[in-house]
Symmetry: C2
Subunit: 319 residues, 2 copies
């Protein structure tokens, strides 16, 4: 009987699910739409039904489902029971763990989706074999997950790794979605890069995207290159500050902007090097996330494995 | 037979030692001069002899010394065996743990002095009862210790908690002792405050001290108040960034500048509040360190206790 787990990544439009074994092999991957009507109250039932149906279909394969890990777009209560809130889903204090466990009689572990992606990259992606990393997603916003000694820093108020909200200095005032001013993500996200570019253009360009900016950079456009430099300066200084605080061995950059590859990563590494503590400089890596949209399902499963100390047993088999 | 430990705090001019029991009561406290001649090579022997002499004197008290914790002004190798370097003592790769254990046959735990002070404040000082804190010392430089879930973040390169070296933004360029430019400590230490004050004065004031600046602040001097505001702005933004990364429950401010009390702590709390993630705001404290120069010896002992899991047994007795 193969021991498998279900990794789940709940997003605002789709819910990704996968059957993954303790060695990290994906046996089946599927998705269902996220039903955010009625404040997302049907999501737990949708997940339960989809799993039940899949387990019926997989019955002949003699797989045993030993646990479920779920990545959620919001903070998890420190006891791991409740999704405190998930604005994109309409959730407030959703008791997701008990809701799923009650129906399926399989143990469930909840975690924040950025933390799940960080764990996924550690288990099967860019930070494989490492146990101390700073994971940064550069998308519409800037998300993050800090892993020290193999464990996610969830924080006392479930706000560990909220590195998109590290304050930065600028003469400009940019209001963040969190209500604060000049959070890192107002400058270093895809939206932040676009805003910086728009500020430098003479004509109002409302439909500008980060992809446009990187296309111009490739074409050697000076203003676009300046916009990238500004973004990289803020991001690099902030990451150096994080590294000088937690002293990890790997910085993993994911999210849409990471698609720019070396155009982003090379100047970013230079900027981090400039400000990182000398004892760390030369002894850490900056790498691009490898798992894309699968990072969350891998990490959700890893979270279940490590929380039950199954992995310490299996880990040697994985290497 | 009372179980006791020896807490040691090695500084550049004196070595503080104390006999402390598992409940945190100090039974004897003494100090010896730090002999930094010959690259500090005699320091381990000096410590051993001083302990041997004290144990002889204490013999009639029936105390059993079960362990030694030593706080050192430099990074400790991740395996806890070696002091990687301690510039003030002249040490490079000093095998302090084995040197002491060999002579006394008592187990030794080494840790960085800022981390020791952080643990001390958690065990017996300002953060009593908490297990997640950001400890900041504002002295000649800016030191720090991050404690999460009761454990010090020592880091992969023994640079965890080097928050004095978080880069900050300024038009001015200040070179830090570490070789980088515009580290937090070049602005937020006692020296940084004095430099900011000197920049604003018409006449060259070479012998200015941080105490002078606080005296002028009390007298309502506008320039001195501006210098403090600049210091607090940098420090507050940096601490908010740390808190948004690790999400602790207590910020403890120690070191010489903390002697200014509310004149520093009240505006600092306001500045941190301005930039901290909304879920944390209102749910954390900023407090002044309580143990002064004793923080290190308490923390060194606590480090021994917790590394041997003696404390989990005793902890209930402490509350």
């Amino acid at each position: 009987m193969i021991k498998q787990m279900i990794g789940i990544d709940i997003g605002g439009t789709t819910i990704k699910l996968a059957l993954i074994d303790v060695y990290g092999e994906i046996h089946k991957k599927w998705q269902i739409p996220t039903n955010i009507t009625e404040n997302g109250r049907n999501i737990p039932t949708d997940i339960v039904r989809s799993i039940q149906q899949t387990m019926l279909e997989q019955n002949d394969q003699q797989a045993e489902i030993i646990g479920i890990g779920i990545g959620v777009p919001g903070p998890i209560s420190p006891d791991g029971q409740i999704v405190v809130r998930a604005v994109n889903l309409g959730w407030e204090d959703m008791p997701l763990k008990s809701a799923i466990e009650k129906e399926l009689d399989i143990p469930v572990v909840l975690l924040n989706d950025a933390n799940a992606a960080a764990l996924g990259e550690m288990w099967k992606g860019a930070a494989r074999g490492k146990s101390n990393l700073v994971f940064v997603t550069l998308g519409t916003g800037v998300g993050g997950g800090i892993i020290l000694n193999g464990k996610v820093i969830n924080g006392v108020h479930s706000s560990g790794g909220e590195i998109g909200h590290i304050p930065i200095y600028s003469q400009e005032q940019r209001t963040c979605g969190c209500g604060n001013t000049n959070c890192l993500e107002t400058f270093a996200s895809a939206n932040g890069l676009v805003k910086t570019m728009q500020n430098m253009m003479e004509e109002n360009q409302e439909n500008l995207s980060a992809v446009d900016v990187f296309t111009w950079i490739e074409a050697g456009d000076q203003k676009a290159m300046t916009a990238l430099t500004i973004t990289v300066n803020y991001l690099g200084q902030a990451i150096a500050g994080i590294m000088n605080t937690v002293d990890a061995e790997e910085v993993v950059i994911g999210g849409g902007l990471s698609g720019a590859g070396d155009a982003l990563l090379i100047p970013l590494k230079e900027k981090i090097d400039q400000f990182i503590f000398p004892a760390i400089r030369g002894n850490y890596n900056v790498s691009k996330a490898q798992l894309g949209n699968d990072a969350g399902i891998y990490g959700a499963v890893y979270s279940y494995l490590s929380s039950n100390e199954i992995l310490t047993m299996e880990e040697t088999l994985l290497r």
